[in-house]
């Protein structure tokens, strides 16, 4: 599974961010979302979705190798994490967050919740075999 982002369809409502936070952290706040919507106003007047493309930069900089690639998704092992937040700093998209309760980072695990709630198909789920259909 992967996610596809159609920036031009995004209207900036932010429902994806709220759903992400509720689904993954049980918190009603978009600040905990592991994706961001940037409004480019007044010009050119559109939105850009910043998301985790599983590039692995976070894993590269992790001093304890707490971030590992599993089935195409970089996942944080909370037990191994020392909370240095080097990964948050290194994320090229600025979409890693810090969980409040224990000051350790969190990242996108491709749960697909953002896509499931997007009312405009600005974020859609696709699987490799039907990638063409979704494009």
């Amino acid at each position: 599974m992967n996610l596809k982002f159609n920036h031009e369809k995004c209207s900036g409502c932010g429902v994806c961010k709220l759903a992400c936070s509720i689904r993954n952290f049980e918190e009603v706040t978009p600040s905990k979302a592991v994706l961001r919507i940037e409004g480019l106003f007044p010009e050119p007047g559109n939105y850009h979705i910043h998301f985790c493309d599983q590039c692995g930069e976070c894993a590269e900089v992790c001093p304890t190798e707490a971030i590992e690639l599993q089935d195409g998704i970089y996942q944080i092992n909370d037990d191994e994490c020392i909370g240095c937040l080097a990964c948050v700093e290194a994320c090229p998209h600025g979409v890693m967050i810090i969980k409040n309760e224990d000051d350790i980072p969190a990242k996108c695990i491709l749960c697909g919740e953002c896509a499931s709630v997007c009312p405009r198909e600005a974020i859609v789920i696709y699987k490799e075999e039907n990638e063409k259909e979704c494009r």
Binding site: V15, R23, S31, G45
Partner: protein, 625 residues
């Protein structure tokens, strides 16, 4: 308290004292939130005889229990004060993302009093509250100021601003946010200007407690799904509110030439389709809104090029009808100018149309104005907007007071075509063939505004239906040839709508999913239940809405000496002149009929014949004032 952030922020600008206090549970139970909080706070805390532009007036920001939660369009923010435009009760609301951010910062409401010594802005980042210097921003346009502040503070701050008109205390100055959302009405921007506050910036990263998060999330998802299944989801959303332009014109309710008549020949040039063809770049949504009515775009005209959000229906009807601009690009540019200068597009266009009619009738001179002006002339409209917003000469100064005060000074019969109720300019529906809608304007609790009750469909086709269905059915479907006044029916229908629409202003979410698409109200009662843990039915919310409506009337009666029936009349144009052209040519409504409408309305509300709530009525609805 589940559903709410739990705190009220109080800022006294005279003393720089900042207090964070717990939100009253009793107030939440009795008034829910939003405009309920506004009315309750104004009633309780506004000092007697306060000058609306003086330091005693309150500037209130209020959200509701549903603001910021996972449900369709939970992004409304409400503002309240004593109105500079009317001297009476005022609330004005806007969409966008500000209210949710305030809740995530920990505050359901903010009450600002006093006056800052120098131009300032308020900085709110969770628990950090600061009154900061704003001299860099003072004098800047609303949109320019927001752009500057986003660069200075960060894109993730939600910012509201006023423009030069708010700084100069223009009585229809607005608040702007998110590059195109406004709390436009009642002169709320002038109240902020009178306090020397240019802007408020907020960033909130906290969470709002929910009674049953699992259920609330499931119900929220269900609500999004249900909205998406409504025909209007795909039918209404693309054009947004501008989609009703042709319908309103075809049924003869389009304000033309300062409401002289009710039909134009160029609606096909300025309708929703033209917004999409000529202007639109992107759909622009408020927080969690699946049906974005905001159409962000770019316009090119002979006087300049601009990026702007809109124009929405009201702006189209007032600039395209009342001012007679025939191109959507020109209307959009006028929209942009109002946004940047910081005035309400509705009042701004109405004041311009009023000035042009005064000039045509010889009541004001070319010398007083500074140039010749005429309907349909883009140069004239742009000139007038600048004149009134910046109070550039004696006439600009007069126009900045709104059409009521301007007509009282100009006199010579101009009062008859100063299109307002209680000092607030009339919005986009001409009503000589729409008695219920006329009554709705006459009795709206902020002055002539449509968002308290919209019953035009009832007048025209006798339909109790959503707007999308009306648009689809078209103007010709079973249309009443001439509105027949059924007094009890009209009064009852208006009252029902006056409780229904403002109920959403208590909850802190947008009403358009219900009004335009027909998303059922019961869904909101259920969402309220799972979010707050208080089980209620929709009728309970309506009862509180009725209570708030009565409280706002009590505030009017307290703030204005001699307040009563005479404040509820429309301008004489509507009962002394017949409609001169269009589908409703020759139609009229008499003053006696308006009085009978008011009689029926007051009786059904339990108010006396002067329109004041009786003690018995107040007791019966649980309003111990």
């Amino acid at each position: 308290m589940d559903g709410y952030a739990g705190k009220v922020l109080r800022i006294n600008l005279d003393t720089d004292k900042i207090i964070k206090e717990p939100l009253s549970k009793k107030m939440c139970e009795e008034f829910i939130g939003g405009r309920g909080f506004v009315a309750k706070t104004l009633y309780k805390e506004l000092p007697p005889d306060s000058d609306p532009l003086g330091k005693d007036n309150l500037f209130i920001i209020a959200t509701g229990p549903l603001s910021g939660h996972f449900l369709p369009a939970s992004g409304k923010t409400h503002f309240g004060s004593k109105s500079p435009a009317t001297g009476g009760y005022a609330d004005s609301n806007m969409g966008g993302h500000f209210g949710p951010a305030l809740k995530y910062a920990g505050f359901d409401m903010a009450v600002i009093t006093g006056k800052a010594k120098t131009p300032s802005y308020l900085y709110i980042k969770n628990d950090i509250i600061e009154i900061r210097d704003a001299k860099t921003y003072w004098g800047k346009g609303s949109l320019t100021c927001e752009e500057m502040m986003k660069k200075d503070l960060g894109e993730d701050f939600q910012i509201l601003t006023i423009g030069p008109a708010g700084e100069k205390l223009v009585k229809f100055a607005c608040i702007s946010h998110d590059f195109g959302r406004q709390a436009g009405r009642t002169g709320i921007g002038a109240v902020l200007g009178s306090k020397n506050i240019k802007a408020i910036a907020v960033k909130g990263t906290g969470s709002i407690p929910v009674f049953d998060l699992k259920k609330a999330y499931a119900k929220g998802k269900q609500a999004f799904k249900k909205v998406a299944e409504k025909p209007g989801f795909k039918g209404w959303t693309p054009e947004g509110t501008a989609g009703i332009t042709d319908w309103v014109n075809e049924v003869g309710s389009f304000p033309a030439k300062n409401f002289q008549t009710s039909h134009i020949d160029h609606s096909h040039m300025i309708n929703g389709k033209k917004v999409l063809e000529r202007l639109k770049i992107t759909d622009k949504a408020c927080y969690c809104c699946p049906t974005p009515c905001g159409k962000y775009g770019k316009t090119k005209t002979t006087l300049g090029t601009a990026y702007m959000e809109g124009p929405e229906f009201e702006t189209i009807s007032l600039f395209g009808g009342s001012c007679m601009l025939e191109s959507i690009e020109e209307i959009a540019y006028a929209n942009y100018l109002c946004d940047e200068l910081g005035i309400d597009t509705i009042s701004g266009a109405s004041v311009a149309a009023f000035a042009i009619e005064c000039y045509e009738k010889g009541l004001i001179t070319k010398e007083e104005i500074g140039k010749e002006i005429k309907f349909g002339d883009f140069d004239s409209i742009v000139y007038l907007l600048d004149l009134m917003s910046l109070r550039k000469n004696a006439l600009g100064d007069l126009l900045s007071q709104g059409v009521k005060i301007a007509s009282e000074k100009i006199k010579k019969g101009s009062e008859k075509f100063a299109i307002h109720v209680k000092g607030l300019e009339w919005t986009g529906y001409e009503c000589r063939n729409a008695p219920s809608m006329m009554l709705a304007y006459m009795t709206a609790d902020v002055g002539a505004h449509h968002n308290r009750a919209w019953v035009l469909g009832h007048d025209v086709v006798g339909a109790d239906t959503n707007v999308h269905d009306l648009i689809v059915a078209g103007a010709k479907s079973d249309r009443r040839p001439k509105a027949v006044i059924h007094y009890e029916d009209s009064a009852g229908y208006v009252i029902e709508s006056q409780h229904l629409r403002p109920a959403f202003d208590l909850l802190g979410c947008c009403r358009l999913q219900m009004m335009e698409l027909g998303f059922e109200v019961e869904n909101y009662a259920e969402l309220y239940g799972v979010i707050t843990g208080r089980k209620i039915i929709w009728d309970d919310i309506i009862k509180i809405s009725e209570k708030v409506w009565n409280l706002t009337r009590v505030i009017w009666a307290r703030e204005i000496k001699g307040f009563g029936r005479k404040f509820d009349y429309p301008p004489a144009r509507f009962y002394e002149e017949t409609t001169p052209s269009g589908p409703n040519r020759g139609y009229y409504i008499q003053k006696e009929e308006l009085d009978e409408l008011l009689d029926a309305y007051y009786a059904q509300r339990g108010w006396d014949q002067n329109g004041i709530p009786t003690q018995g009525t107040l007791d019966a609805i649980g309003l111990s004032v």
